[in-house]
Amino acid sequence: MKQTESRPSKMKTSVKILIGLVLLSLFMATTINIFADGTLEGNVALIPIYGPIMVGSSDGLGSSSSTSSNAIVGFIKEANENPSIKAIVFDINSPGGSAVASEEIARAIINSEKPTVAWIREVGASGAYWISSSTDHTIASPVSVTGSIGVIASYLEFSEFLDDWNVTYRRLVAGEFKDMGSPLKELTPQEEVRLQKLIDDIREYFIDVVAENRGLERSHVESLATGEVFLGKDAIQLGLIDELGSQPEVITYIENELNETVEFVRYQASPSLLELLGGIIFDKEIKLSSDVSGGIRT
């Protein structure tokens, strides 16, 4: 042990050792990546849709707390372009989310050339149900929660709170309805009518999509579109899903469709090092006005 080494000399030695170890680590990890790449081959893409559905990136820290429509649409494209992938299964455990994000994923599924299956786990409601209705076959547990065909844009209004604290909202807008839905001011009756019309229109679109995807009468879907949720055992009676079951039923369905054994290959977003180390990345939902704090969600 070199106790007599000077501090600069110690630092030099430390740095050399650290650099050497980092290079060795990079070499080993790269080698593993090269040999591990081919080990997860399969013929059925398994794409997880977990948590709230948003347009942008998922949360970081390796957590699965939200789903990005950008990522899912990318995975669907990848799966479609991969000749070894014969079918796509969506592993869904989501309460819904952004209307736009849900619609983007649903559109990508409809345009997919390969058989698609939605496998609803604990929850596949609202926007997640929108997505699952776009697939060729939907399987859920008898006690999965699904449905919730409707739209929500509720938010907290702080206008009276500000009044209590003598805080004044200075309204400077060009365009009468520019700050419509701002939590800092009271929603006027005219604004409420307009916002309500917007979410009613989205609901109508949602109903049209589900009726077309599921081959149901529009009036029947409309009667279900109260926003209420249904258990799987009721949803199948209502025509909202195709089959009760879980993974074995998913595998059986696909094997019957493809006439070959199912080997799943999981498609998922790999958080970058910065996402793992740097904390949660927040994404903005697309909002109709810059002041609508909650966004519009299905």
């Binding site: 042990m1 070199k2 106790q3 080494e5 110690k10 030695t13 430390s14 050792i17 650290l18 170890l21 980092v22 060795l24 680590s25 990079l26 080993m28 990890a29 790269t30 593993i32 990546n33 591990a36 080990t39 997860l40 997880p48 977990y50 390796g62 957590s63 699965s64 999981r266 998922q268 790999s270 958080p271 970058s272 090092l273 793992l276 180390l277």
Partner: protein
Amino acid sequence: MDELNLPKKRKIEVDAPLYARVLAFIIDLLILNSFILFPFQSVLVSMLPQENISQFLADHPVIVDQLYYILFLMAIIILLYFSLMEYKLGQTLGDMIFKIIVVSQDKKKQLTFLQCVLSNLYVFPFFPFFMLWVMDPIRLYIKKETFSNHFSKRKVVQYQEV
């Protein structure tokens, strides 16, 4: 003016306090995790799902084998960090902060690389080495010396001036 003929300060060797050794070890782990082992993080993240990992591993035994190989390689890198730093400098980066030094129990001999390797074998997450994760802290608390250091004939000290 005559120089004062004061006795020179002596350095005495004392056992490094437990809190310093623990904190130094934690700092070393943070350094390893942040700066040295980061290439493995992306490998592990790409291999494993974000939920239901235990179910996934149960369904894919091939992946379990691959994970063991990866953990083995990571353990080698951790072992090299501790062994090389202690062999070359007598201390890791965490030890430097708390002025901890690793020396041979035989004061006449320098610490050898083999001694450093033997005392750090606990980093391997396999039998029998992982038993040291329990045995070493217990022995350290009771006898102020771990099994690892006892068998590799080393001690962990601080030098204090008196």
